[in-house]
Symmetry: C2
Subunit: 300 residues, 2 copies
């Protein structure tokens, strides 16, 4: 299962009740927080997301609208008595900033925060269920995109067959990951007897702030869902390039060239109150485009 | 004229749409921002406060709920093309944090930010119209209270007399500050002929996070309006002391002992959804008490 919940979709200046960038990516039972603009902790509460289940945070770059909500979020998790380890992947310059903030406040977090500096393209985390990699995007300061993938998708339980073979519902989660079941009377129920093969593993790519960059295409090729920033409409092509941002048309062209399943667009400039034109322009090039509306969960 | 607009009244964990601490203090034509919790820039916009008129910011201490909104606010003022100098008074440990944040983002503000470290009790700013002093409060980390005073209050223009003597309305602001007016035909209109004496200068004291501390009393003696934190109701007296916070009853006793005009209470713990009991308990000791409700402007 792949889902992306939008927590903030605006560029630097908050406007029209739109918030700076943050997203929650769900891959099966894992929750990943991607960027953490000011106010993200309030957005997480507003959309009733269970903070405690977030074990990984990824920060694309150190413009404030992508991380000024992080110190407050880390503190609040401490106040809420988090105990589980938390893994933070971010540009290396963030570590001394957080250290100074914690020191100035005499803060001792009740959980272990692992800081992983982003320094080169490659795999950041890999388990038997999921994998996260990073790749560079081209922005005014060092910036990273992220790719989230199921290593293998869960098999699909056939409830009718499972019931017929006496497998209890409590065991379905194990069935999804390939286990066989032994009944109380000792009969072995082979996994294939009660499940259907897994679907193709799902994947999601997050292209944080970036100028139009065809070098992204091989890195995001074929993902089920792509987020690409669209700070401006196509008529502001020059301004986008000057500020290392992208337009609707450019994001849609990247999505098309990379053969992705669907496209989410966001990081809208505060100069635009109405966003209809963003959707219209992107769909002209790539019809399976949606606006990254806050509070909406998109499935890939 | 003294007015205080509440932008945030909650303690560390945001809850019930209450925000971390921030206030806007207005003394005649000056706007002072006092503390700047996460989300303050959005609160300033929500209550239609003209950011550009804020020239002084005071940060009481470096717990995140009192300053995590500051970097975003400073950045946004840059994006809005602020040009006027801005004066920031804060504990010295804040300066290297801001420096690292600006450096990581390659940010060059289009205005001059003057950092004034808070190191000892005394006068921070003094002009011919207003004065701001700081004094220590007792909290878990170094923390400062602030006292804002009119140096002299404006004289009160008597419009009937002013019209009779041919003083144009455009000159009233100068009349308030004691100037005489010369008519086009060369007649001198003495200020006293068209104005009434100024009222007693107004004053406001802000007691940020603090344990119950009678040493505050001489520092805030006789102010027209006092803000004192009340993180807890009186039954949690022990918890308040252990965490270097105050209760309703303690804040009201300080207000009473210091003979202040009125009391505002805030910094409510997130454990309380309903605040009625805060008001009731404080009023038992000091009747002229109000809850520091967000969006409300209190006049002293």
């Amino acid at each position: 299962m792949l889902a992306v919940t939008i927590l903030g979709n605006n560029s630097a200046l908050p406007a029209y009740d739109r918030h700076p960038t943050a997203q929650l990516v769900t891959l099966d039972d894992q929750l990943f927080l991607v960027d953490c603009g000011e106010g993200t902790q309030v957005q997480l509460s507003r959309y009733r997301i269970r903070w405690g289940r977030i074990n990984y945070i990824f920060i694309s770059h150190l413009h404030g609208d992508h991380y000024f909500g992080l110190p407050g979020f880390l503190n609040s998790m401490g106040l809420l008595h988090r105990e589980n380890d938390l893994h933070l992947f971010a540009p290396p310059e963030l570590e001394p900033i957080l250290d100074l903030q914690f020191k100035a406040a005499s803060t001792v977090l009740p959980y272990k925060l692992h800081f992983h500096p982003l320094t080169e393209e490659g795999v950041l985390v890999k388990t038997d269920k999921f994998k996260v990699t990073c790749f560079p995007t081209k922005h005014r300061i060092p910036c990273w995109g992220f790719r989230f993938e199921q290593v293998k998708a869960p098999r699909r339980v056939n409830p009718e067959k499972a019931v017929r073979h006496g497998v209890p519902a409590a065991f379905y989660d194990k069935l999804k990951w390939g286990e066989n079941y032994t009944t109380q009377s000792g009969n072995l129920v082979m996994n294939e007897m009660v499940t259907d093969p897994a679907a193709k593993p799902k994947s999601y790519a997050y292209c944080a702030d970036t100028i139009y960059d065809e070098e992204l295409i091989p890195r995001i090729e074929g993902v089920d869902m792509l987020y690409h920033e669209t700070t401006y409409l196509r008529e502001l092509n020059d301004r986008a390039a000057a500020r290392f941002h992208s337009t609707t048309e450019q994001a849609a062209n990247i999505a098309k060239s990379a053969n992705v399943g669907r496209l989410l667009i966001g990081h809208f400039s505060s100069k635009y109150e109405n966003l209809d034109q963003f959707q219209a322009e992107a769909r002209e090039v790539f019809p399976a485009t949606d606006l990254a509306i806050e509070g909406v969960t998109f499935r890939g």
